[in-house]
Symmetry: D2
Subunit: 384 residues, 4 copies
């Protein structure tokens, strides 16, 4: 029987491998918290002073992310009430670090105890163990989707700055669940109406009929002990030309980084994406033309980004999510002692993370854009 060399031996282990819990350059977010610990949250550094901000600005996105919100998400029910601990005074930000916390309420440790030494296939169990020599098996520890609470809280602040100060609106929606595809067009000129359609169904897709089919597919799949993946499309309108560093920190590179930092993602494409491959330069080039004294492009294959810098057109991209790794159907696997075993997960899980991923995609994009906004807005001046 092979014994793992990295077998967990608490008395010996001390590792300081980093976790990479911070994101952003100026508007810097550090998240903390495990799925079943005391609290989860984040600290935002360098948020501008003078912004009106209370918990009411943040809670709506927490509600869009929280489990138990609809019949197609995990039944684990958490209110996820956010609390601001610092950084505001009389309802306004003061430029100081904004600390926010959500205290855990509905932790059920027994859900996980019987799988605590088995590695769930395609889950972070094994790799987390390989890296840190242990794993926080209570719901996945830091690798739990619950750790995205801090992201969504910080993203809500970022979206508010972008909306109120930069005129930038972000909207995301589910465009595909397995083979059910949204093939219509969304009108990015009418964001409010678009959001209403999207948020009117539990899948968050811009077509009510399609939403019903997707809902049924998700429910049937859950029934079968299986899970589903899909695609989230996202757009930001109102981004002016000039955001993004043209060498390593290109705007598209930052967005790709942000998207693949979301659990369960497998790919990202900007604008034309992988379809660009089948086009020639003549077909793909976005012809510039003047419209109302403003440089615009006839097409938007660029997805609003050229040479790593925004060009003033809507930023558009698509993120692929794999089917949830945790399924209730029995699967073969191995355990921490290196034995081949059969695994049957009980627990409460999402058969499809897409509906809850929508606010996370928006939040991550907002974190990228608010950083660029603060840098770009402030770093240009015509005389010194």
């Amino acid at each position: 029987m092979p014994i793992f060399s990295f077998c967990f031996t608490a008395s010996l282990y001390l590792t300081n491998k980093p976790m990479g819990s911070s994101f952003g350059r100026l508007f810097r977010v550090t998240t903390y918290g495990e799925s079943h610990g005391e609290a989860l949250g984040c600290v935002i550094e360098n948020c501008p002073a003078g912004l009106t901000l209370t918990e009411a600005d943040i809670q709506p996105d927490m509600d869009r992310r929280r489990p138990g919100q609809s019949r197609i998400t995990t039944p684990r029910d958490e209110a996820d009430r956010v609390k601001i601990l610092s950084g505001t005074f009389e309802g306004k930000t003061i430029g100081a670090p904004i600390s926010m916390a959500v205290f855990n309420e509905n932790a059920r440790e027994k859900d996980y105890s019987d799988i605590k030494d088995i590695f769930r296939p395609s889950h972070a169990d094994y790799t987390y163990h390989a890296r840190y020599g242990h794993r926080a098996w209570r719901g996945g520890g830091r690798s739990s989707a619950r750790a995205t609470i801090g992201i969504v809280a910080a993203g809500a602040v970022a979206k508010k700055i972008l909306r109120e100060k930069a005129g930038v609106e972000i909207v995301a929606y589910v465009s595909q669940i397995k083979d059910l595809k949204f093939t219509g067009d969304v009108d990015l000129g009418k964001i409010t109406a678009l959001r209403e359609v999207i948020e009117a169904n539990p899948v968050r897709t811009p077509d009510a009929v399609l939403a019903e089919k997707m809902t049924r597919l998700i429910q049937d799949t859950r029934q079968a002990g299986d899970s589903l993946g899909g695609i989230v499309e996202c757009a930001a309108v109102g981004v002016p030309a000039g955001w993004g560093d043209p060498v390593f920190d290109r705007l598209d590179a930052l967005i790709a980084h942000a998207m693949l930092a979301i659990p369960a993602t497998k790919g990202i494409e900007i604008g034309s994406g992988f379809n660009a491959v089948s086009m020639t330069g003549k077909e793909h080039n976005d012809i510039f033309e003047m419209q109302n004294g403003k440089v615009t492009t006839r097409t938007n294959h660029s997805g609003g980004i050229q040479g790593g810098i925004s060009n003033g057109m809507p930023i558009t991209f698509r993120t692929a999510f794999k089917p949830t790794a945790t399924i209730s159907h029995e699967q073969p696997s191995v355990n921490e002692r290196g034995e081949n075993v059969m695994l049957k997960v009980k627990g409460r899980h999402d058969p499809c993370v897409l509906p809850r991923a929508v606010p996370i995609v928006e939040a991550m994009l907002a974190l990228v854009l608010v950083d660029q906004f603060l840098i770009a807005k402030t770093a240009q001046y015509d005389s010194l």
Copy 2:
């Protein structure tokens, strides 16, 4: 006649918008240089001491990247001889910053002077101008593909460390040009043989017959004043389980960041990528099983990364490149004065960047992995 508000006025302009010319955390690379300036290169900080290193280790990748290397690249001929200025002593690294430079030789400014105030469609001209209030029109300045010289030089050092010290081999190849797809399998167990096949043809695709078709397509397209895109596939074998920070700096997020930092890229997918969307969890999950006392997976839909951390299987991903934006065919566009104009670019350009992108993809992946290697290798200890 609309006048641009950002119209270039040298006497007024001073902007300090960042360029993002550094990459990496421990093995940190800062690149410098413009397409037609004095020199281009990079400085590598925190390269381990004790590594044998001379220019001969770096030049081969420079040659794979350089223009004029074959009949399907730009005829601009540059030897691109690299010179090490610091950081080694008696042929070994000493842990000090490694400064490397390539001095420009074959600059032809006139190639660009007649388009210096017109924005080439889907190129960085307009966005660069919008960001910095000017543009270095001599061949694109910092947004030129020539600025990847520093990347390839640093990547060669990173690949050497990975190969000699970590047992990690990286290989990339062109898997698609427009609709010509490589549909075979590559044997990642025989990297040397694979590299030989790939480097034996100017396209760098692992199939000689396909390479011939692709070459003809590229030549015909150039003749037509048009351009082509494609896909570069890349794999790293030998990466142990445990590389990657599981929150924001996931290994797949870092790779996505790295790939979309390469000019002309439009998308990236890891492992199953966008195909994961059409699978269910049961189909997609990579079942763990013990093989020779080692945890392995039956399939590799994960592309070697689970929960943002490597799992010991080969890391595999695909990067989409759009067709080259600069084409010789006439196109409408606008100029810096906001006038609609017709543009006809002469110059010397690649009709398809894919063959030269192969070493750049490898280099960017190497920069990501060597950083993780240094962090992971060093940050674990079983007793303090």
Copy 3:
């Protein structure tokens, strides 16, 4: 009547000037909280996993820092109970961010309301206002000494790692209050005994008789509505040779950065410090000699650091603190409208911050050293 151009206009102001609330590279601490907000605390990233850690490890240093601890500190009485919100599981760290909070209890806003538009001389009031366009007048906001709570909490964790894993002990004490100087020698070979002497008196000086004199001087000075400064000496024993980056991030540079980041500090000297100026090289050079097979130096003018890197001898330095800026004696000043006014501060303040500065000096040094420990311990290996 001159009107300030930066006069506070809440509706207009939005500034994103950074606050610099993070410290450290690997063991990275982000503090948050204002003097009279909801809570203050910190998040520690990349603390090694496997360390036993509960609130009981942190509270003692919180008690040494807290106001109201003795008759010579501010009478503002705060229990300052620290709470760990994340990063531990069953009493051990798991490598995830450690979030800690102290909830405010004894806030008295009225103490500050009558000076809210007057700039206290030599305080941060004016400069904070000049930078951010507003000031958090409730006890100084982020510039309050209360913001050092997060530092001391993080420092307690750092000291525990250094003590248990690196064999490094840190001890600080007051060596001078005004002209009352400690002129004896401390025995760094008997740290426990030394700490007992220091902590046995409220001034934290290593001489009980001197402590009594200092106490009386502080009490008399408070009576007179005045304040006092002094010097804190600090030593770290057990630091091995080899910590510190020899170019910009020298160990002495990092310590200097850390010390001058403590409110009210005016200077720092390492080892011989300013006295080195009057010596010649022959006198000042620390002669190397072998002792028990170990390289040591006969003298320690270097203060344990040579060329920016530790040499294995005790690290010693002295930090100068100015007299507390806030005094109850009446002083002329100006207000936010640019008027010359007379200022009389009531409030509750320390007549001398030195006794409470001792744990802060220790904490800041610990943050510097634990970072170097993690980097140095892990980054050396003799074979790869």
Copy 4:
């Protein structure tokens, strides 16, 4: 005979301990180069575009730093001609990284070969060896004062920006050599005149008579095979109120970091510095008063910085330098094999580094201030 455990074994050693060769946040400088390698220099990232810049702007400070400039410095004669490799176009910066290099000319390896295995007392030899497991004995490698070439080159660019765009002037001078003290006052209102006096003598002290005494003392000390230390005073005038981050990255903390990053420094004090200790709050507080509609202070004990943020008054500080460690007088020491030996250094060394340290102090301050200028200038806006 004790054998060092860290004894240099080239074939085994690979260490990736960082060197910390970068400084700054926005205006980020990375230096490279060893004392006797091919070239030394730096890369500046994020220097604003639109600044006129040629080698002629940089060479004067290189000349003030270079060896062989006068009869009281080392006779090693180096022209130290600086060359700009990138980042400018037609004599103006373009916002791209500025790469600068000085090629070595007068390397004499034999100077060092006979001491290559002996640790010079109070030098970086031993600690560098302890950290990296080897040392670049050719003139000290990265720990050589020659590595400050990149600092002075970058500082010259920073000073130009500060002077031309921010109205900030920096001036430093030697105020003490051993016990010879400059006790006069300098008129910071007449910077140009002050600089003329300082630069008119080889010591760079603001008193010609004192300079003559200092010169003789330096020459006599060299004759005796000994060395001297001293103090450099430095001031920046024109810094507006509002520069500096009030928590960890206080302006005084950054300056302290910068100064102690200069080789041979032992201490730094801001404004009143260590003298503040002997004053009471009433005496030390800088009383605010309006002057010409501007907030000023009657005294400047604060040295222009309050609460870590500039207050508009001149920034003043003093940096202590120890006597040069390398002396020609014979000294006991130990070698790499752990043997007690006698050391007699021949070589060419400065008997007193102070005269050449003046431009380095100015450069390091300029790097701190230009970063704050770019951040502060750009990060405030009254409407978004």
